[in-house]
C-alpha cells in the first residue's frame, strides 16, 4: 500500500542546508496499522507530510497504492488525496465557519460523492455525535472536535488514514475514547492506518512500530 525508497528531504535555512530525512525505506501493507514515534524534531511529521503527498521530497520514491506520487504535481496529488487519503490532526483542523455536519461533508463534496449528507450523518452518529450535527466547532469540547475530525476522515472511506498526534491535545480519558473510536472504525472499514505519536500506549496498539531518530527510521521488533 505504502512503499518508499531512499526518501530524502532537505530544507535550506539561512545558514546551511538541513537534511531532515536521510534515506527512508519503508513498506506498509494494505490494512496494516503503523505508528511512528520519536523525539520532537526527529522528522516524524515531515515523513507523514511526504507520505500523504502534502509535500514533495528532495529525492527518493513514494509509492501510494501503486502510484509514484513523487512524479505527480500538487494538483494531481490533491486529487489522489481526495480519492484515497484521510487525515486526523493533532489540533483537529475543523473549519470554524462550518458546522460539525458541514465539516464532515467537505471532503465528500470535494471528491464529488453524491450522498454526502447521508454519509456524513451516518459517520457522525457512529462517533456518537448524533446530537451535535449543527454545532459549530467552537461550541464543542476538544474530544468532540476530534470525534468530528475522525468522522470526517472516515466518511470519504479512504484507503489510507494518516493521523498526526491524534491525542496530543486531549486529556488521558478523552484521548482513550478517541483512540477506541479510531481503531474501531479502522477495523470496521479495513483502512490502512499510519499515525505519528508520542504516546507509547497508542503506539503499542499498532501492529507495527517505527522509531525516528535524527532522520533515520528503524522498525522496533
Amino acid at each position: 500500500m505504502i512503499k518508499t525508497s531512499q526518501l530524502i528531504k532537505r530544507v535550506s535555512t539561512a545558514e546551511s542546508e538541513l537534511e531532515i530525512l536521510r534515506g527512508i525505506d519503508l513498506e506498509i501493507k494494505r490494512g496494516e496499522t503503523a505508528a511512528i514515534v520519536g523525539a520532537s524534531g526527529s522528522g516524524k511529521s515531515t515523513l507523514l507530510g511526504l507520505l500523504a503527498g502534502l509535500d514533495a521530497p528532495s529525492s527518493g520514491e513514494i509509492m501510494l497504492d501503486g502510484t509514484n506520487i513523487v512524479n505527480l504535481d500538487e494538483d494531481e496529488r490533491a486529487t489522489l488525496r481526495s480519492e484515497k487519503v484521510g487525515f486526523v490532526f493533532q489540533n483537529f483542523q475543523l473549519l470554524p465557519a462550518l458546522t460539525a455536519l458541514e465539516n464532515v461533508m467537505l471532503p465528500l463534496e470535494l471528491a464529488g460523492i453524491g450522498d454526502a449528507r447521508e454519509k456524513s450523518e451516518e459517520f457522525l452518529s457512529r462517533v456518537g455525535l448524533e446530537e451535535r450535527f449543527h454545532h459549530y466547532p467552537r461550541t464543542l469540547s476538544g474530544g468532540e472536535q476530534q470525534r468530528v475530525a475522525i468522522a470526517r476522515a472516515f466518511a470519504s472511506q479512504p484507503l489510507i488514514l494518516f493521523a498526526d498526534e491524534p491525542t496530543g491535545n486531549l486529556d488521558t480519558t478523552t484521548g482513550a475514547t478517541v483512540v477506541e473510536l479510531l481503531f474501531g472504525l479502522n477495523k470496521e472499514e479495513g483502512t490502512t492506518l499510519v499515525l505519528v505519536t508520542h504516546d507509547n500506549t497508542l503506539a503499542a496498539r499498532c501492529q507495527r512500530r517505527f522509531t525516528m531518530t535524527a532522520g533515520h527510521l528503524e522498525e522496533a521488533s
Binding site: G49, D75, R81, F87, Q90, N91, L110
Partner: protein
C-alpha cells in the same frame, strides 16, 4: 467537487454565518453605495444647477439682435422641437394718469417667456403670481410704482398705448441681461408693442429670441444659426452669459467629481484591506481543504464564484442604498433647489456596477487568487509560509485600474493624474519610510520603558503588515485632507467674490458740480458710498498710426473699440499688471493702461501709441501697462484707464457705487427725487441671485464632504480591525504571562498612535502634492502650502488612529486568554 457554483453559494452562506464576510461585504457595499449616491447626486445637482443658471438667461440659449429676429429662425426653432419665447427691451418714458413721468426700461415679452426660471409678481392677491402680463396690462418694478404713485388697477401710458397696472414685479429671472437698460423695469405683453408706436427705425432696441430644450436639439439649432449671425446679433448660452456664475459652477462640478473619485478610491482602499484580511483568515481553511483533496483550480474557482456572488449582491443592494442616500441628500437641499423632479438616470448604476467590478477584480481578487497556492503542509506545520496577502504588484495593478476607472468617471486626466500620482508617492514613500522608521523604532524601543518596548517591538515584528497599514491610513487621511483643503479654498474664494456689503447699485452721469450734494445725501443717511471715478465714453481709432477698421463692420481681427474711459493714479485693487508698469501719482504724461483682453482685441502692447477719440477730440497716448482684471469680483472694472491729469482735459461725468440693504431700497427713489438726472443701475437682485447659487452649491459641497468623511472613517476602521486577529493570540500569551490590561492597552495605543503619526506625515506629503496640482491646474485657485496642516496632520493621525485602534482592539485585552489559546 460536483459544482463549484453550488459549492460557492454554500461557502458564501457559511462564511456569512461565521461572520467572515462582514468586512469585505460592507466595504464592497460601501463602494457601490458611495459611487451610486455621489454620482447620482452630482448628476441631479448638475442638472438643477444648469437649470438654475439657465434661469439667468430665462432660457438655455438666447439670440440677441438690434433688429427684429427673422420669422424663419423662429420656424427653425420649432422644427428642432425646441420651446421658444421672445423679449424686446428698450427705454421709454412711462406716464401715469396723474402725469407723473419716469424713464423706464421696458421689456415686452411674448411666447413662452420665461423658458427657465419664473417671474414673480405681487398682484395684490395672497399668492404671488408667476404668469406673464395679459395683453393690455403691465407689471411695474417697485421703484416705478413709487415714482409714478401708481397702484394696481391704475392706467399708465407707454407711447400711444394705454395699459393697466396688474402687479408689482418682485423678480425676473433675466434681470442681469441687458445691462444698459437703465431705469426701473416695466414688463408688458409683446402683443401691445405695435400700439405703443415707440419702436421707430433707429431706436435702441434689443430683440431676444429665447430657446430651451434637449441638449442635442439645442446643439443642432446652435450650429444652424451660428453661420447666419450678422453684425449686431449675438448668441449666448448659460456658460457665457454670466462669467461669474459659469466659473462658480465649473468649480463646483470639478469639486463634486473630485469628491466622487475620492469616494471610489477610499472604497477601493477599504476593499483591499478587507480582502487581505479575508484571505488571511481563509489561509488555514484552504490548507485544510487542500489536504482533503481540493486542487488549486477548485480553490480558485470556489473563491472566484464566491466573489462574483458577493459582487452581484453588493451591486444590487448598493444601488438601492445609493439611490436612497442621494434622495436623502437631495431632499435635504430641497428647500434650496428647484422642486422639479429629476431622475438620476441609469449612469450612476452603471458606474456603480463597473466600480464593483474593478474593486473585485483588482482589489479583492488578487489576495484570494493566491489562496490557491497555500501549501497543504500547513495543516501539520503551522510555520509553513502563508501566501503573502499583498504584493506590490497588486498595489501597482490596483492603482492603475483605479486610474482608468477615475479617468472614465471624471473624463479629466489632470484630476486622475494628480490623485494617482500622489497616491503613488504615498505608497512608494510610505513603504520606504514606514519600514525604515519601524526598524529605527525597534532600536529606540529596546532602550525604552516596558509599555513602549512592547509597542515598538510589536510594530517591528509586524513590519510589512504595519507598513501596509501606515500606507492605507496615510492614503485615507491624505484624500480627506485634499478634499477638505480644496473645499476650504473653494468656499473662501466664493465668499471673497461677493463679500458682505459688495456695492449693489451704481450711479452714472453725476455732473462734477453735483458731487458735493451727492456725498451730502449719502452722509446724511449714513450710507457708505464708493470712490467717485470720472468717466467718459470714448473710442480707440488707431494703433501706432494704423487706423482700425470701423467697429460696426462684422469681421474677424482687430477693430475699433468703444469703451468707458476712466482715470486714477493708483492701480485699482484686484487688478494685476501683467506687463509694463503703473505710472507715478500726478503724472502729466499721456499714458494709458489697458485690460489684457481689450489690448488683444485692438492688437496693442506696452509702448504702442493709441489714437483715441472722446466726443470730437482726437488725441494720442502711449500704452504704459496691461492689466488682468477679475471680472468675477462684482467691483467696477475698466478696460481703459488714464492718469487723472489727462482725463481732466475732457468733458466727463462721475460715477460711483454704493450698497443698500434690501429694506433701504426706497433710498433710490429719494435720491432720484433730489437729483433726477442721475442714472442708477440696480444690481441688487442679480447679486442676490448669484449669492443664492453660491450658497446652494456650498451646502451641496459640505454634504458631499460629509459622505466622503464617513467613507474615510470606514477605511480607517477596516484597517484597524484587520489587525485585531493577529493581536489576539499575542495578547493572550502576554496576559497568560501576567501582563496587565493597562500595559497591553497602553502598548496598543502607542503602537497605533505611532503608525498614525507616520501616516499623518505621508498624508501631508501626498496631499500637498495633490493639492498643488488640483488647485492650480484644475480648479484654477491660488495655491499656498498649508503649513498649519503639518503639525495638525501628524497630531490628528496619532490621535485618530491611536484611539480608533485602541477601541477596535479593546476585545484583545478583554477576551479571556484561555478562550483565545484554546481556539488556536
Amino acid at each position: 467537487m460536483k459544482s463549484p457554483l453550488d459549492a460557492s453559494i454554500r461557502l458564501l452562506i457559511r462564511d456569512w454565518r461565521g461572520g467572515e464576510l462582514g468586512v469585505l461585504f460592507s466595504a464592497l457595499l460601501l463602494a457601490v453605495s458611495v459611487v451610486v449616491a455621489i454620482s447620482g447626486f452630482v448628476n441631479r445637482l448638475q442638472y438643477n444647477l444648469e437649470r438654475e443658471s439657465a434661469s439667468f438667461l430665462a432660457a438655455d440659449l438666447v439670440v440677441s439682435s438690434s433688429n427684429p429676429i427673422p420669422a424663419s429662425w423662429m420656424d427653425e426653432v420649432s422644427a428642432y422641437g425646441l420651446a421658444q419665447g421672445e423679449t424686446i427691451t428698450f427705454s421709454s418714458m412711462v406716464i401715469s394718469a396723474d402725469d407723473e413721468m419716469f424713464l423706464a426700461s421696458v421689456k415686452a415679452v411674448g411666447g413662452a417667456y420665461p423658458l427657465r426660471g419664473a417671474l414673480s409678481v405681487d398682484t395684490g392677491l395672497s399668492q404671488v403670481s408667476t404668469d406673464n402680463p395679459e395683453p393690455g396690462t403691465v407689471f411695474l418694478a417697485p421703484r416705478l410704482v413709487q415714482q409714478l404713485s401708481a397702484s394696481i388697477g391704475d392706467e399708465v401710458y407707454v407711447g400711444d398705448a394705454t395699459l393697466t397696472v396688474a402687479g408689482t414685479l418682485l423678480s425676473e429671472p433675466d434681470s442681469t441681461t441687458g445691462f444698459f437698460g437703465y431705469g426701473p423695469r416695466l414688463v408688458m405683453n409683446a402683443a401691445n408693442l405695435d400700439e405703443t408706436g415707440v419702436l421707430q427705425p433707429g431706436s435702441r432696441v434689443t430683440y431676444r429670441l429665447l430657446v430651451a430644450g434637449e441638449s442635442d436639439d439645442l446643439t443642432g439649432f446652435k450650429e444652424w444659426v451660428e453661420p447666419q449671425l450678422v453684425q449686431g446679433q449675438r448668441l449666448s448660452s448659460v456658460d457665457e452669459s454670466q462669467p461669474g456664475i459659469g466659473a462658480t459652477l465649473e468649480r463646483a462640478r470639478g469639486f463634486l467629481l473630485l469628491a466622487g473619485s475620492l469616494g471610489v478610491m477610499l472604497a477601493a482602499a477599504a476593499i483591499l484591506v478587507a480582502a487581505r484580511q479575508f484571505g488571511e483568515r481563509h489561509t488555514d481553511q484552504v490548507a485544510v481543504m487542500k489536504s482533503l483533496g481540493a486542487t488549486r483550480a477548485t480553490i480558485r474557482q470556489l473563491y472566484a464564484f464566491s466573489l462574483a456572488w458577493l459582487g452581484l449582491i453588493s451591486m444590487g443592494l448598493g444601488s438601492g442604498i445609493g439611490w436612497l442616500a442621494q434622495s436623502a441628500m437631495f431632499n435635504a437641499l430641497a428647500g434650496q433647489l428647484p422642486s422639479e423632479i429629476t431622475r438620476i438616470g441609469i449612469t450612476p448604476y452603471i458606474t456603480g456596477a463597473i466600480t464593483a467590478f474593478v474593486c473585485i477584480g483588482f482589489f479583492a481578487w488578487p489576495p484570494l487568487a493566491r489562496l490557491g497556492g497555500v501549501s497543504p503542509l500547513r495543516v501539520i506545520r503551522r510555520e509553513e509560509t502563508i501566501a503573502d496577502a499583498t504584493r506590490s504588484s497588486d498595489l501597482v495593478l490596483g492603482t492603475a485600474s483605479l486610474g482608468l476607472l477615475m479617468l472614465w468617471y471624471s473624463s479629466d486626466w489632470k484630476l486622475t493624474g494628480a490623485l494617482i500620482g500622489s497616491i503613488a508617492i504615498t505608497v512608494g514613500l510610505g513603504f520606504f519610510v514606514a519600514q525604515t522608521l519601524l526598524k529605527g523604532s525597534r532600536q529606540v524601543g529596546s532602550s525604552a520603558g516596558s509599555v513602549w518596548r512592547l509597542a515598538l517591538a510589536g510594530m517591528h515584528r509586524r513590519g510589512t503588515s504595519s507598513a501596509f497599514q501606515v500606507v492605507i491610513f496615510g492614503i485615507a487621511i491624505m484624500l480627506l485632507l485634499v478634499l477638505t483643503a480644496v473645499r476650504t479654498s473653494l468656499l473662501d474664494q466664493w465668499r471673497l467674490q461677493i463679500p458682505e456689503g459688495t456695492p449693489n447699485h451704481f450711479i452714472l452721469n453725476v455732473a462734477p458740480s453735483d458731487e458735493s450734494s451727492l456725498l451730502t445725501f449719502f452722509a446724511e443717511r449714513d450710507i457708505e458710498v464708493g470712490e467717485l471715478y470720472p468717466a467718459a465714453r470714448g473710442r480707440v481709432m488707431a494703433v501706432n498710426g494704423q487706423p482700425l477698421p470701423d467697429w460696426d463692420r462684422f469681421e474677424e481681427g482687430a477693430r475699433q473699440r468703444e469703451a468707458n474711459f476712466t482715470s486714477t493714479d493708483t492701480a485699482p485693487e484686484g487688478n494685476k499688471i501683467v506687463s509694463g508698469a503703473w505710472w507715478e501719482v500726478g503724472t502729466e504724461q499721456s499714458l494709458v493702461s489697458l485690460e489684457d483682453g481689450f489690448a488683444e482685441d485692438i492688437g496693442a502692447k506696452v509702448g504702442d501709441l493709441l489714437t483715441l477719440r472722446i466726443a470730437a477730440d482726437e488725441f494720442s497716448v502711449e500704452v504704459a501697462s496691461i492689466r488682468e482684471v477679475n471680472w468675477e469680483s462684482m467691483q467696477p472694472n475698466f478696460f481703459v484707464i488714464f492718469p487723472d491729469k489727462l482725463l481732466e482735459r475732457f468733458p466727463n461725468t462721475l460715477f460711483t457705487s454704493f450698497y443698500l440693504e434690501p429694506d433701504e431700497k426706497y433710498r433710490v427713489g429719494e435720491l432720484l427725487d433730489v437729483m433726477p438726472t442721475l442714472t442708477i443701475i440696480e444690481l441688487d437682485v442679480a447679486i442676490q441671485e448669484i449669492k443664492t447659487i453660491i450658497d446652494q452649491v456650498s451646502q451641496a459641497i459640505e454634504l458631499v464632504l460629509l459622505i466622503i468623511l464617513v467613507a474615510g472613517a470606514l477605511v480607517l476602521i477596516a484597517g484597524v480591525s484587520s489587525s485585531v486577529d493577529e493581536r489576539l493570540h499575542e495578547s493572550a500569551i502576554l496576559r497568560a504571562l501576567g501582563a496587565g490590561r493597562g500595559t497591553l492597552l497602553g502598548a496598543i495605543a502607542i503602537e497605533f498612535a505611532t503608525m498614525g503619526s507616520l501616516a499623518g506625515i505621508l498624508a501631508i506629503l501626498g496631499s500637498e502634492t495633490a493639492g498643488w496640482v488640483l488647485q492650480t491646474q484644475m480648479l484654477d485657485l491660488e495655491y499656498q502650502i498649508q503649513w498649519v496642516l503639518w503639525p495638525m496632520g501628524i497630531a490628528l493621525g496619532a490621535v485618530i488612529i491611536g484611539s480608533l485602534g485602541t477601541y477596535a482592539c479593546r476585545r484583545v485585552v478583554s477576551v479571556p486568554p484561555l478562550q483565545v489559546l484554546r481556539e488556536l
